[in-house]
Symmetry: C2
Subunit: 291 residues, 2 copies
């Protein structure tokens, strides 16, 4: 008989998701956040930070492929790649699979996330000991400030914009990311769900901030079943290369479970209500300019 | 202060979603199923049948546009359209917006779904009194058996494959749908979530049954936040016209919030793990044939 133990995430004040638990593996208050690892029936082992689902064994491939491979296949020579956050190692695992990558650097503020991911999510943390990888237990904001013109691709694999990740959604952080990128650099950030009103403002603001810095800024989507609404967005900003101008035959075939050549392009096809987030913003700016 | 009243759907034995309730509007056991209408904070008014979410005011547009407009824009002259189930009227509302549609017939087994949708979900049921529309309170399986060579497009807008909708997922029902369609006919069915193991078998079986009847069978996807995992599938089967061969300029511009020309094509871009559902089946068949 199955246990009647459930772990619940309050996705918003008015929306809950609950997973039936097989076993609680580890729980502690780190220096930065509350960390929990639990084994669930639906999604296998799951990592929670501050009571929000970060990832799960069964569907982590979607998030980790989609936050990395779109940019890696847009940049013609993504040799030096940085991940801010992402201490579980999933983004790093996808990055080192790419044939053109020479170095992958992970800057995670909370060493406990790395430690317990290696212990309980070894499939996700698999590449953290790869010779191409450097793991720095440091503040991503500080690292970005101190490194200029260094990376080809920067992935901002943050938690929600509250708590330790708040600074990763700020305008001055994005300016420093721009400077940390080399000439043809590309950045990608996870930018929450377009279905939730509280996230729509965030998505619009990030888009606007990035448009001040980069000629190419685009939102793309992926299905992430453990995140609120299941529709998740990523914002890509690029100094030179447009992800929609990539030649299909140049997309590297890595061993993927979600991403492929069709998905690379289809992920940028936005439903009207999502595309309208930016149009409304542009209309509002036009009205403001006329005044 | 908000109420602490929640309505919970057991999406699987091991996965719950809960919506904070503003007000319960109506609840009854009909002759066919348990019906509930509740007003929620996140998604507004919602319809539940047998404790499963059917639709909500805030995001119903995704399901209703996507179950209808892909087929309507693939068929060169979708004049006569049938909806099986869908008593809330949302599919019908999208169908009658299409400029080429002359008649739209709704066959819903449970009159209470129609009655209470008209009362509490008027935005969704809006077109049920349109002069092009005929509402029949009847068994869809019987209607399909009794009508041959009659419809250009048939939409199977069913509940989950348990309870009253079980027969809408059976092989003989699909044979009758084929015969109810005219020469260039197209059918679409909602076919659950590719993320859930229990649904993967269903998706594969329906695909295989339809391939026995139609030269063109394709799965497509949409983001439906109130359904399990948020990734929902539809299976389209067509006697002649391929949805991917449609000319973009032939797609009718109806007033939509999700569907557009890009989405028409992008919805068919399947993640590897979804595309593999069919490949495994085909490999298994090849092995079987070799034996």
């Amino acid at each position: 008989m199955k246990s009647n133990l459930w772990i619940t995430e309050k996705q918003t004040e008015d929306l809950l998701i609950s997973f039936r638990v097989k076993e609680t593996l580890h729980e502690e208050q780190t220096d930065f956040q509350h960390l929990a690892l639990v084994d669930t029936y639906t999604y296998g082992r799951m990592l929670f930070l501050d009571n929000c689902v970060m990832t799960s064994i069964k569907e982590e491939f979607v998030y980790h492929e989609m936050i990395t491979l779109v940019a890696l296949n847009t940049h013609p020579h993504p040799e030096h790649v940085l991940v801010i956050g992402g201490g579980d190692g999933g983004a790093i695992r996808e990055i080192v699979k790419h044939p053109k990558v020479k170095t992958a650097t992970l800057v995670e503020i909370d060493g406990k996330v790395v430690k317990y991911s290696q212990k309980y999510l070894p499939e996700i943390a698999a590449a953290l000991h790869n010779p191409k990888v450097t793991v720095l237990l440091d503040d991503g904001i500080k690292h970005i400030k101190e490194n200029k013109n260094k990376y080809d691709v920067i992935i901002i694999d943050s938690t929600d914009p509250v708590g330790p990740a708040e600074g990763l959604f700020a305008a001055d952080f994005y300016e420093n990311v721009y400077e940390a990128l080399r000439e043809e650099g590309i950045m990608v950030a996870q930018t929450e769900s377009p279905f939730l009103e509280k996230d729509q403002e965030l998505i619009k603001n990030i888009h606007e901030e990035l448009q001040k810095l980069y000629p190419i800024v685009k939102l793309y989507l992926a299905y992430i079943p453990v995140y609120p609404t299941g529709m998740w967005s990523f914002t890509l900003a690029s100094k030179k290369h447009d992800p929609l101008q990539v030649r299909s035959e140049d997309i590297a075939e890595t061993n993927t479970r979600y991403y492929n050549k069709n998905i690379h392009f289809a992920a940028f096809a936005l439903p009207n209500f999502v595309a309208d987030l930016f149009k409304r913003k542009e209309r509002a700016k036009a009205v403001e300019a006329v005044k």
